[in-house]
């Protein structure tokens, strides 16, 4: 996929940090230290993060501040993770969410 990493931003500075490996729906991908899960996916050209549980319409990166629920994904088996604010960690298993999710222990 094309590299969509944002390098030029009017307010924020981005440093080229160390490489962080993770997987998206089983595919190996790379992010950088300082990435949130969603920013790493964006840099990798991933636009669809989940599907609305009822309408099944695709949902993408939207508010980017943990408010809108558009970026909810399954991370390491846990559903409803707000990937736009959750820091990316090495080895994370990130998956597209297609339902409403359940609490951890269920």
């Amino acid at each position: 996929m094309e590299n969509r990493r944002i390098t030029d931003h009017p307010i924020l500075d981005f440093s080229e940090g160390e490489v962080i490996p993770f997987t998206f729906d089983g595919k190996p991908m790379e992010g950088r230290s300082g990435d949130t899960i969603a920013s790493a996916l964006h840099a990798n050209g991933v636009k669809v993060l989940g599907y609305h549980f009822k309408t099944k319409r695709p949902r993408g990166f939207y508010c980017a501040i943990g408010n809108c629920s558009s970026c909810l994904m399954v991370v390491n088996g846990q559903s409803n993770v707000r990937t736009c604010t959750e820091p990316l960690l090495p080895g994370m298993k990130v998956e597209t969410q297609i339902d409403r999710g359940v609490p951890d222990d269920v």
Binding site: F53, D99, R100, V102, P103, D104, D105
Partner: protein, 384 residues
Amino acid sequence: MNLPKSASVVIVGGGISGCAIAWNLANRGVKDIVVLEKDTLANGSTGRCGAGIRMQWGAEKNCRLAQFSVNFFENANDILAYERDIEFEQSGYLIIAANEAEAQQFRKNVALQNSLGIPSVFLSPEEATAIVPYINATQFVAATFCQKDGHLNPFHTTDAFAIAAERLGVRIFKHTEVTGIEVKNNRIESVDTTGGRIATHIVVNAAGGWSKAIGKMAGVDVPVYVQRHQILVTEPLEPILGPMVMGFSYNIYIQQVPHGSIIMGRSDHTEPRDFRTTSGWKFIEEMTKTCGTLLPYLRTAKILRQWAGHYCMTEDAQPIYGPVPEVEGMYLACGFSGHGFMLAPATAELISEMILGEPLTIDVSDLDIGRFKRRELVREQSVV
């Protein structure tokens, strides 16, 4: 739409009770009914409530009122010819007993309920976990369950009554506040509003938290007070809860709406008696602690928001139904103490029968306003 100069019946309050009474009266052929609502429909307690309905009560009258209402709600989409759906889900109520004393009371409750045809059962904690799989069975000694209990959408239900009433000629005026009630020779003559005066001899006071103020306008002391009750709602989750779970000692009710959100509330009798509807930290701390103990897996569910509404309380937590002795023409349908939504179909039936002088479907003569002066309070233990 201008206010009419006169009306046969003026109903004050556009919540579930007022709208249901309006429909019921119109459905019996009464003409020229007016409903006055100072805000929007279901803006008060109705639209803020937990929206559950249960037939599992400890007092026979409450069982009968709820049973009547369940039977109505089962067919309400058809009866009211509602194009949408009131979303009545009979997913049941599981009521837990925290101690042996409560369990004893529940045994009596189930015996009473069964004698009235209410299909409730008494369960061990193990049997209860078969119905609510993730409940912490170490936290209660027994439970009762009734599959016919459930919950419904309070906005759609109010809408269904209002639309059906308007179809029968009822005129509903929103943003129209009652400012005074004229009484002559102990009889109601007219109602003053922000939209003008309506001559009438019958006023139904279904104003919920504001019923005391409405009563006062006619010189009637309605013995109710208002208290804030808070609720919170989580993010939508896959269906995991099953029935409404309720505990009286635990002071909790919790349900999962069809959308997937989980709604939970509890009472705090130390709340000041006023009209505040703000949200507070104390509630959210206590609520999450109780919920986390009883349903530990919900500890990781994210709370989206909380809100508050009023309980219009009476001394015995029972409604006040019927006429008042001092002023001819005023009928009370208030003081529901947190149960006005679920009882609305019965409320509408009974108030209509009282106004038309027909025999009562359920004898609620002891739920009159006079019981407080007579000190004949009606006791019901099974309330949150």
